[in-house]
């Protein structure tokens, strides 16, 4: 039993976007699987019945193809059995090869040739199908080959162009060796054989692979009407071009291209399955029309016509099927993206609700701890020893820092929520305000020398960008604590696409290895425990800047201060 890509579980993600390489691929849940053929396999007897049916179908198609065997009784320019055999092995596994061999042998032996040549031809046909199926399984995701554009290309190249040379070569050489064909004509017989097989592979195999399982599409009424219309147009165009119903005059070569937009329409508006039907319908009317035309003007040129038609059909088929697969792939991708986006939105809402609850529900008990500790201290100060008083103060300090952390958490979750209300901002004024706030808020801000340069204006939310400056300045004040001549410089410059604002201090700096990691939430190096703070100030600043479409960065040599900067887009108040 051969390796066939197994259907994915029903809940598998429709990644559909298949990578190169040979890992098994997760198929979308709606990929038609070999349900009838494999999953519901009714045991050995049933399997024999399935294989015999395959032989019969192969036999019938081969007899049909051999009706058009003109250049040699065993070589036809129209050879649907190649597609049937290929699809059969892809769906049923390599073990189904005897069915192909049997069908091919019977079709040939009942038409023309010796036992030896018929056996050789059957062997060639079977080998072609085995090689094609193996290549497609190995490189084009097997029966799912028409679900991505790249795989559809690979299918065409490997099974349509490459594997078909086997049957043509084996068949033609055996005819030559048996003296059944003149060596001088071997070339044209080979070309006919090869092109006929190629047409079968790219027209018939996709149809079977994509329709395996047989479910009708669950289209809306309007979609069915559209499908009926477009197929009607295709059949009408087929009549106009190929004259499959009634003869048309001169061979209108240019008109043949008219079918392309119709098939493109099908590929674009429908799905790979419908596109495969479109290609098959075009092939049928083209062959019927060509045969009819040849019969009226004489059959001398029929093989040449059929070969041209095969080339035309092969090119049309690959273009249409690749386009349909690419469209399908994009649809699956869009669907996955929409789902991911919805999941993210839900997750975000949950996260916000969670932080809401945590910040509210935790604040009350934390406040109670702090308050009761303060009350104990107030009411029983005289009766408590120094140790107990100290411990009470520790309780209050811990509660206070827990409270601050909760405050910061809320700010972090809410940072950047209202960036839609943007104004042109005087950043110099905003920076001066932030300096004043920081000086008031910190115990020793007065000992810091602030230097605010002229800053370019920018579009933004005033509260939010004020907070960015506030947090960067607080950070600078915090980390210059204990340094001589504490100095913080706020500077800015206009760039080509963005304005850059920087807060530079002469504090202790940070470990250069941290890099932009300093903007991550809760990052507070252990060595810096003496500096109070929840570790969210820079993260909040970074989040706000990013919500404004900007970037943040930080530099330090770990000794001589640090420079924190943020850049905001300056395209005229976007």
């Amino acid at each position: 039993m051969g390796q066939v890509s197994q259907p994915a579980p029903a809940d598998a993600r429709p990644i559909g976007v298949v990578r190169a390489g040979d890992e098994p691929v997760s198929l979308p849940a709606d990929v038609p699987g070999p349900r009838v053929a494999m999953a519901d396999r009714p045991g050995a007897l049933g399997r024999v019945a399935v294989l015999l049916s395959l032989s019969a179908v192969y036999f019938g198609a081969a007899k049909l193809g051999l009706l058009l065997a003109i250049v040699h009784a065993s070589a036809s320019a129209v050879w649907p059995p190649t597609g049937i055999a290929l699809a059969g092995l892809l769906l049923l596994g390599y073990g189904a090869w005897p069915a192909i061999a049997l069908g091919a042998f019977l079709a040939n032996i009942t038409t023309h040739g010796s036992l030896a040549t018929c056996l050789a031809i059957a062997a060639g046909n079977t080998l072609e199908a085995l090689a094609g199926a193996w290549l497609v399984n190995r490189y084009a995701h097997g029966r799912a080959a028409f679900h991505t554009g790249l795989d559809a290309f690979r299918f065409t190249a490997l099974a349509g162009v490459l594997a078909t040379t086997i049957s043509a070569t084996v068949g033609v050489v055996s005819l030559g060796l048996a003296g059944d064909a003149a060596w001088t004509r071997i070339g044209s017989i080979w070309a006919t054989w090869w092109l006929g097989d190629m047409g079968g592979a790219v027209v018939v195999a996709p149809l079977i692979l994509l329709w395996d399982g047989g479910r009708l599409p669950d289209w809306s009424r309007a979609k069915w009407i559209e499908a009926a219309c477009v197929f009607g147009v295709l059949l009408a165009a087929g009549q106009g071009i190929f004259g499959w119903l009634t003869p048309v005059g001169a061979d209108p070569v240019v008109l043949k291209f008219l079918c392309m937009p119709i098939l493109t329409w099908i590929a674009y508006r429908f799905d790979p399955r419908t596109a495969a039907v479109g290609v098959f319908v075009l092939a049928a009317v083209a062959v019927m029309g060509t045969v009819r035309a040849a019969l009226t003007v004489g059959s001398g040129m029929l093989n040449e016509y059929l070969l041209l038609i095969q080339i035309y059909l092969a090119l049309t088929a690959v273009t249409t099927l690749v386009l349909a697969a690419a469209v399908h792939e994009r649809e699956l991708f869009d669907r996955a993206m929409r789902r991911t986006s919805q999941e993210l939105t839900e997750a975000l809402a949950e996260l916000e609700a969670f932080s809401h609850a945590v910040s509210h529900d935790l604040r009350s008990p934390v406040a109670a701890i702090s308050n009761y500790a303060a009350i104990l201290e107030e009411d029983h100060r005289d009766r408590l020893g120094a140790d107990s008083l100290h411990q009470l103060q520790r309780i209050r300090a811990s509660a206070k820092s827990a409270g601050m952390l909760l405050d910061e958490l809320v700010k972090f979750v809410w940072a950047g929520h209202s960036t839609e209300s943007k104004l042109m901002l005087d950043m110099t004024a905003l920076a001066r305000e932030a300096c004043a706030e920081v000086v008031v808020a910190s115990e020793d801000g007065g000992t810091v020398q602030f230097e605010v340069h002229e800053l370019p204006p920018v579009a933004g939310n005033p509260q939010m960008l004020g907070r960015v400056l506030h947090n960067l300045l607080s950070n600078a004040v915090k980390f210059t604590r204990g340094r001589e001549r504490r100095r913080v410089v706020i500077s800015g410059r206009v760039g080509e696409r963005e304005n850059v604002y920087a807060v530079t201090d002469n504090g202790v700096g940070f470990d250069p290895a941290l890099g932009d990691g300093v903007f991550q939430p809760f990052l507070r190096p252990k060595t810096e425990r003496k500096f109070a703070g929840a570790g969210l100030g820079l993260a909040i600043a970074a989040k706000i800047v990013r919500r404004h479409g900007g970037r943040v960065g930080a530099e330090s040599d770990g000794v001589n201060g640090a420079r924190f900067w943020f850049a905001l887009p300056n395209e005229g108040g976007r």
């Binding site: 910040s359 509210h360 604040r363 009350s364 406040a367 109670a368 303060a374 009350i375």
Partner: protein, 150 residues
């Protein structure tokens, strides 16, 4: 009946109520503090809903200090009902909440709050912010119509 102007505390957090009442007592604020633990009871005290508790005499409640999240009626529900009644339309209502979330603040003002105070713990003396807030509305604020203040 206490003749002091009334402060109505509406909150289900016993710890907060304990700290707030203790602070008001210690500050010797000249106020009649009434406490209700849910929104329905608050509306009854204000005479906006019948039954249950003894309602405050008309015009004696000078300020309502209202929590947002309570079992039953939320603070915003209570606030909207206060604003919907002709008699209490201009009664000062201060939201006192643990939440400092911008949307809570915005919704409170949109619903007609006069002020929004975040419950805090960093005061030198616990609950002093409750005293400060009450004092402002009792002693400094001039209400739009004289009937709101005794």
């Amino acid at each position: 009946m206490n003749l002091f102007p009334g402060v109505l505390l509406v909150d289900d957090d016993e710890d907060y109520l304990f700290v707030a009442r203790r602070a008001i007592e210690r500050a010797k604020l000249r106020a009649d503090v009434r406490v209700t633990r849910d929104g329905d009871e608050a509306l009854r005290v204000l005479g906006l809903k019948p039954g249950g508790v003894e309602p405050a005499a008309p015009h004696t409640v000078v300020v309502v200090m209202l929590d947002l999240r309570m079992p039953g009626l939320s603070g915003l529900d209570v606030l909207r009902q206060i604003r919907a009644s002709e008699r209490t339309r201009e009664l000062p209502v201060v939201i006192v909440s643990t939440s400092n979330q911008p949307d809570d603040v915005a919704r409170s003002y949109d619903s007609g709050a006069n002020s929004y105070v975040v419950k805090r713990m960093d005061a030198e003396s616990p609950g002093s912010y409750v005293v400060d807030t009450a004092r402002y509305w009792l002693e400094l604020n001039e209400p739009p119509r004289s009937h709101a203040k005794r």
